[in-house]
Symmetry: C2
């Protein structure tokens, strides 16, 4: 299967690498890592075992790649305005486009450009960081919940899921992609938001009772908003307490938005805050704590 990876950061490089290692024909669209990977290949330091791919098909322009069977999108969402430019040359009649990006709105934007029947979404739970060019460190997790954006074609979803599983990635298809996206937001909104705002890692908020309670309250706001979104099955409010408890194991974990902030990159504010707030407001739901974090993070981006 010809697979193109667009947005080859810590996530795209990791999944692309394991897909190539397990026998897929993977094409990497690269920018900053191009020279290093083209010359020396790609190295993955992983909790599941390190490996090196000496030969990696690396490209600087999507037209050199041409059409593929599957596009895996790992772009930071603030780069979504590049969808058309980066993805169009890769798309033929039968191409499927899988976005593994954060937050909401990605499938919608891709569908508007390429047709909704082509679009799949994957909610990736992955801890990985890009170190030097050509090197990725996989710190833990990695599972993907895979779902169709519009039509339910469990055959094709299952086919892609099994391809990820063959690459050693825990992957299952879900019938309600929207629910899976919101479930991840229940975690991402408080932790990405507050960690980036306060420049602190996850444990700082959990070991201090007032902020531990705050995290749970923010999660409850998000769950309440999620449950107005016509999910196939409601998300129980008790997920908040469960997530808070299970996050206590994460130690000094830095969510991606904190890493973006520390590296002076733009933040994924629209996908993780702006669009969820807007979608909730359309159902008459306010998320005052979430709105406040969003406004303050937006302010920091004006500096």
């Amino acid at each position: 299967m010809r697979i193109a990876v667009v947005g080859a950061g810590a996530l795209g490089l990791y999944y692309g690498a394991v897909l190539q290692k397990s026998g897929n024909d993977v094409y990497f669209l690269l920018r900053s890592d191009y020279t290093a990977i083209n010359a020396e290949g790609l190295t993955v330091y992983s909790v599941n075992g390190d490996f090196h791919l000496p030969k990696v098909k690396s490209f600087r322009s999507p037209s050199e790649i041409g059409t593929v069977d599957l596009v895996v999108v790992g772009l930071k969402t603030f780069a979504n305005s590049s969808y058309a430019e980066l993805i169009t040359p890769l798309v033929g009649n039968k191409t499927q486009i899988l976005t593994l990006q954060n937050g909401l709105g990605n499938e919608e934007s891709l569908a508007a450009l390429f047709g909704k029947e082509k679009i799949l979404g994957g909610v990736a739970y992955l801890c990985s960081i890009r170190e030097k060019p050509g090197e990725v460190r996989h710190l833990g997790e990695g599972r993907i919940l895979l779902g169709e954006y519009s039509k339910i074609d469990s055959t094709r979803t299952e086919e892609i899921a099994s391809r990820f599983r063959a690459a050693g990635v825990e992957c299952r298809s879900v019938s309600d992609l929207k629910r899976a996206r919101w479930e991840k937001l229940v975690w991402n909104i408080p932790f990405n938001g507050l960690c980036a705002l306060m420049l602190k890692s996850v444990d700082s908020f959990l070991k201090f009772e007032p902020t531990r309670r705050l995290i749970r309250e923010i999660m409850e706001e998000v769950i309440t908003a999620a449950n107005t979104q016509c999910l196939l099955k409601e998300i129980p409010l008790s997920l908040a307490e469960k997530m808070v408890a299970s996050s206590s194991n994460l130690g000094q974990y830095k969510p991606s938005m904190l890493i973006d902030r520390l590296k002076d990159r733009p933040l994924e504010l629209e996908a993780i805050f702006g669009i969820p707030l807007q979608i909730a407001a359309e159902k008459g739901i306010q998320m005052p704590r979430v709105q406040q974090i969003f406004a303050l993070l937006q302010l920091t981006e004006t500096d």
Copy 2:
């Protein structure tokens, strides 16, 4: 009138100085400024005209002062646990105690120690900073709303108010001290809180639409809570918009909590956040945005 000033920071020194200048017998309880003021007196650089008091009655211990007619309390509220030690030696049968401190809870604590009939409260709108020891800069405003904590004795309130007016301070007595305190909180909670949290001055929040709206929403939370507190007259929600508009003139103004933070002093969190939140909760009112700011500021104090 023998007046003792306890808590001689930017506020206590300023009001003590103008009261002495207008002929009152003022006793300053000093710590860090003692040496400078004892040797060289007290200088006020004021928008109303600079002046110097070459002789200032300065003391390091309240027992050297003895009982007075009026104690003016200007302590930072995080030092309220020193009330008994600092004030008891000053209090005789007829002593009145006027707290000009920030936030809620000060009158209650003083009343518990010295009897509620002795207590008055003043809501001070003053922009002043302490510069070098022995020097205060009065940047603007200064008016005081003066009220009784328990009994309504307009004679004595009016007597003290006229003493302040004789010292050039705009001062009027109010029948509802609680309402005046909450009105000041409508401003203090968002601006002190967010400025200290984000290390930014007032204008940063007002010139950016999402945070300007946030400020107004926080103010509306506080007004809603205030109006459950059996005020003689409700505070209209429209005060929020009015305050936001009038604050636009303040420019790069730094609220006291931001100054405290920049000087690495403790923050007045209990008086401005903790107690108002608790009092509102007792009436079944949540202030989610206020609660969030409080939790995050508390977290910063654990560093």
